[in-house]
Symmetry: none
């Protein structure tokens, strides 16, 4: 889980940010720089959203402090500025990893910036491939391989295989699969799952390769 520290004195902006980010990340709040520094010390913070204009200790001195300390120096920072004009001043202090966001910002902008910085800084956290035995699914390119051979799957087949790969060996009932792959509100024949399993099997069981999907009678299916 990614921990984001938000340092912002304006309660309404704080709440907007918290509301938007907390669906995907764990959010910590500080309403001044001193409190922010304390939190940085106590918890492992992955990203800081920093209001550039703070009462008391300024954003600039906060930045200097965390960049000086080894433990915190590599945490990326997104600056929240009031106007576009500020960007020039900021320019001198930001590193390549950092970014800024001008008020007012939309949900889309906020999320895009945060996600971009996180992807850039922690590429390894966004695991790109799922592997099990000789099968691998590359989530970035959406490609599936059995050993070296590429396998073409339809969207539902891909989702199904991906779901199995997240928890290999676990048996999923047909109901569970319908809920997860098709959505809770889908209203399909339960036997539809059988047909899709059949299609997935046909696609991945290339000549000379072993069966990967196990039928657990009266229970469901698993990747095994």
């Amino acid at each position: 889980m990614i921990n984001i520290l938000v340092i912002e004195d304006d309660i309404s902006i704080r709440e907007i940010i918290n509301y938007n980010l907390s669906s995907k990340f764990s959010v910590l709040i500080a309403d001044n720089a001193e409190e922010g520094l304390e939190i940085c010390q106590e918890k492992k913070i992955d990203l800081i959203l920093l209001d550039w204009m703070l009462p008391g200790m300024s954003g600039l001195s906060f930045l200097r402090t965390i960049k000086k300390r080894d433990l915190t120096s590599s945490i990326p920072v997104i600056f929240i500025t009031a106007k576009h004009e500020e960007e020039d001043k900021l320019a001198g202090f930001t590193s390549g990893a950092d970014d800024y966001l001008s008020k007012p910002f939309s949900h889309k902008e906020l999320m895009a910036r945060v996600e971009a910085v996180i992807r850039r800084t922690y590429p390894e956290k966004f695991s790109k491939t799922l592997n099990y035995k000789d099968i691998s699914v590359d989530l970035q390119s959406h490609k599936v391989f059995r050993s070296k051979a590429e396998i073409k799957l339809s969207p539902k087949e891909f989702d199904l295989l991906k779901h199995f790969l997240i928890s290999p060996k676990q048996v999923f009932s047909r109901e569970q699969l319908l809920d997860k792959i098709w959505g809770l509100d889908s209203d399909l024949e339960i036997r539809t799952v059988d047909v899709h399993i059949r299609r997935l099997r046909k696609a991945i069981n290339l000549e000379g390769f072993s069966e990967l999907i196990r039928t657990v009678r009266s229970t469901g299916y698993s990747l095994d």
Copy 2:
């Protein structure tokens, strides 16, 4: 990796430079010219950032020394000067490869100068062209080639292709492409992307060349 030697006595400027450059380059620091000379001898330096006003050995004599020695004579130098006026005096000593930077400078300026000098001096290490398979995009001249054949693209087609070339094989959803190419706040039909993909395909799929843009059904497109 590019090694940059920074010779600067002012600790705060040194830190700003180090902070900014270290995200992209390997940075070595000297706080006087003598130390700088030593480092030049020991390590392979690709670029020197030299403060023109140094205590002890001056920037000028440092420059003369390294230009005299074979091993170091072709290292490009960016001079850091206090005022714009200095530029005239400098002009007499700089070679075509060199450049200067006046204090105070922004992150943007610093990076732009450094990258420009490096591109100029080591075009092979830092080419401004994107390549994938037989397609290449020159970002400087905005020219696109399929093998040897030049391809003419409209602005949107160019942006689209460029975006694909930055992350080949990665699948982008139509939403992502709209956000990246058209901007977060654009309010366009999602199917507009299809039409542009079609146009780009038509433009780059010259007779006898393979399809480069892959459709990933229900997901998006990728360069592949």
